[in-house]
Amino acid sequence: MLYALGKSLGSEEGFAEVKACLTSPLAKFVAWGLLSALLYHLVAGVRHLIMDMGIGETLEGGKLGSKIVIAVSVVIIVLAGVWIW
């Protein structure tokens, strides 16, 4: 990803090259996969911060929180897929 960033910022041709590469279905799928991992990590991390504040620290709260994380992540990941394609 740093390689893509470096290439896309290095020159106009590099930018076009990266853009062209990212239009292929396989590249889009990989980008979606990486983005999904980041988004899930982000949502689960926000849950950690909320639990650090002492919210949802009971057994029931923990179970509910994990379900919310999965639900929110699925919605955002689907939205990310829609955005990419």
Partner: protein
């Protein structure tokens, strides 16, 4: 008290804080970047280049890069000390764990230097 020599700050509490602070920085950075990309569909090279050439964005990017290194180190250290243990791996655990941590450390350092080169190069 944490007595393991390989943790980031020799203090579990400080590591805990570093992990959370870096997490908030990374969240802000990626939400901003993804928001910017969503708000500007079909962006050209000039705008993309101008974004990263902006001084504020350079500082933000560099901050995110430092935060990524710290966040990844605390995370990988936690995983390696939780799972790469003598209970799981027997006598070679210390060597395996140290090697794993060394690879992680080199990777983070390399990413940092590479990222600085990209940001400074434009």
């Amino acid at each position: 008290m944490v007595t393991n020599v390989t943790n980031l700050s020799r203090s579990g509490l400080y590591d805990w804080m570093a992990q959370r602070v870096s997490a908030v920085v990374l969240a802000a950075y990626f939400i901003f970047l993804i928001g910017y990309l969503v708000a500007n569909p079909g962006m050209g090279y000039a705008q993309w280049h101008a974004l990263f050439a902006n001084n504020g964005m350079r500082i933000f990017s560099l901050l995110a890069l430092v935060a990524l290194g710290a966040h990844a180190w605390v995370g990988m250290w936690t995983i390696s000390t939780d799972y790469l243990t003598p209970m799981a791996l027997g006598k070679s655990a210390t060597a395996v764990r140290f090697l794993f941590q060394a690879v992680c450390g080199v990777a983070m350092f390399a990413y940092f230097v590479w990222g600085v080169q990209i940001l400074w190069g434009i």
